[in-house]
Symmetry: C2
Subunit: 337 residues, 2 copies
DNA sequence: CTGAAAGCGCTAACAA
DNA sequence: TTGTTAGCGCTTTCAG
């Protein structure tokens, strides 16, 4: 309870505080006998250095910040798991910032780097504005974007256009012509993947000579329930689609629920393909576009760690790591009836 | 890049640093005009106080630590989500410590409180030893256990005995007599729930006059794959069980996979009941024992926050919040063939 | 209401 | 090798 400081240890060991500090930091220039004395005193006093003091004095926090949107989103969780797995075996602590509201977004993106709260920053699925990117660069703290893009920042991304293309193309190859795209809000300026997958979707359509039918594109807040409602809406249409490409597996699940509830069989009456390949996707035999969620966290963290090693941090050419996507065919897709 | 400090702001505003500090901390004793001047200077200089300095000076870190075992475990994630949801709207930051190896367990449980890295600590699903509990109490930092128990510490727990009892009893009521229990390692000294659910299982058996057959209890590392293997093993037995009570939903899923692969139908040939009611459980129509995972995080965080308010922290009588369990009947259980 | 000055506990020159 | 000392940037008495 009563705090024991470096001074107490020094006194107890009969040395100066600098010596204790040296022992603490494994400096080689301490006589072995002295080191032992100090170590003993530390042990006896049950001493452990105060982090805050250390941080202030060193100008380093020994922690890495991770900013995530909607921590409840399974794909975000999976990415975070990848991050944790590598940070865990580094000397850094992990500080988690969850952004649920847009207002908080601004606060974090602005303050975290300025307050020197962390030595490095990982940002998941949040696209910074030019101004924000500017701030990061100016702050001098290394940042890596995961599943987000900015031309001037390091990033780990997925080729979402290609992914959307693959999904749609597969549906077309099965013989579908009426293919819907169910997604998050397309207009969200910070969600690039929604638009990229949409682009891939349209590209595949066009290539096959199919015209894009705007009424087949539904958007709403992300989540199973909103998707379920969109599914219902789709099925109520006079000329309903025979296949749905969902922006995420979570949304695909909602669509399937809607179909099932309407007495339709999947894939018999409706084919559904998702995106992400989250854990449940496998259980549910969901056909989907696999992307390396966990891997993206791993790669992003590694990249950040190396950036943090190089004092001349910000490279003129940001590094981009592009992860592949892969079509995983399971049991929710089939030729149209 | 060049750090602007409180001194710069003071100079710019033509006041002393104490005044700037007062403005920063919303002290009422600052003339309005002065405050404005300072605020202006802050704005112009794009100043933001250094956290480390603040922490050292105040002796508070304004952060809460969360220690979790196996961050990949879905039930742990769900609890963490509950925690995040309340910490998020508090002034505290969240520092995440993931323990994958037992060795790291000791390091964290010992060091985190000693180093004054956090103002409060949440520990998920890790039962502290008496000695560790002692350390926590001595450190003076408020701690709340979630899904773990120690008589001297605050905690949010679930009645696992009752849960195990409910699950087993339900199976018995359906007419099953040969009921297996598939679980994590029973001997893990830090995993109390495994033993508690086991106890409930045996109690239900006994109450129904069924004898406990040791060969029907299989244990292994937690996870889908190990459970899958245990499922296979169970089904190879000369007199296989007709129902399985799995320690967790994750394990239940593994069991179902094993059964399905063996050409057995669930619940036709084998009934399976899980525990937790994780998200996938619903998709899979898994009969399970629901426990309020998210809620446990919420309640635990709230409790911690109130503990942190009261300076006379450690109450002589630790507070215990007991969350209920509930049997959720879905489609993986039925009377024996 | 405001400023000067004394720490918070540690690291890192600089001397010795 | 070691000890002394000057900060790190902020909060908080204590005077005024």
């Amino acid at each position: 309870m009563t705090t024991v400081t470096i001074r107490d240890v020094a006194r107890r060991a009969g040395v100066g505080i600098a010596t204790v500090s040296r022992v603490l930091n494994n400096s080689p220039s301490v006589r072995e006998s002295t080191r032992r004395k100090v170590l003993e005193a530390i042990e006896e006093l049950n001493y452990s250095p105060n982090q805050a003091a250390r941080r202030l004095s060193r100008g380093k926090t020994m922690s890495i910040g991770v900013i995530v949107p909607y921590f409840t989103n399974p794909s975000v969780v999976k990415r975070l798991q990848g991050i944790v797995s590598v940070i865990n075996s580094s000397p850094y602590d992990l500080v988690l910032f969850d952004i649920e509201k847009v207002t908080r977004r601004d606060v974090f993106l602005r303050n975290v780097p300025r307050q020197k709260m962390v030595d490095g920053l990982l940002i998941i699925s949040l696209t910074p504005t030019d101004e924000e990117a500017e701030q990061f660069l100016a702050s001098g703290i290394p940042v890596v974007l995961i599943d987000a893009f900015h031309p001037r920042m390091n990033r780990v991304i997925v080729d979402n256009v290609a992914g959307g293309y693959k999904a749609t193309k597969y549906l077309i190859e099965l013989g579908h012509q009426k293919i819907a795209y169910v997604s998050d809000f397309l207009a969200d300026p910070f969600n690039t993947p929604v638009r990229d997958r949409f682009e891939g979707y349209k590209k595949a359509l066009q290539e096959a000579g199919l015209i894009f039918r705007p009424e087949y594109h539904l958007q709403d807040k992300h989540g199973r329930l909103p998707a379920y409602k969109m599914g219902k809406q789709l099925l109520r249409m006079p000329d309903p689609p025979t296949a749905v490409f969902a922006y995420s597996d979570t949304q695909a699940i909602g669509i399937i629920e809607a179909a099932t509830e309407n007495g339709l069989s999947v894939p018999g009456d409706l084919s559904v393909i998702g995106f992400d390949d989250i854990e449940s996707a496998e259980y549910l035999h969901l056909t989907t576009v696999h992307q390396s969620l966990f891997e993206s966290g791993v790669e992003g963290s590694k990249l950040l760690l190396t950036q943090m090693q190089n004092p001349d941090a910000i490279p003129t050419n940001p590094i981009e790591i592009k992860l592949p996507t892969e079509l995983v065919i399971r049991k929710t897709t089939a030729p149209p009836a």
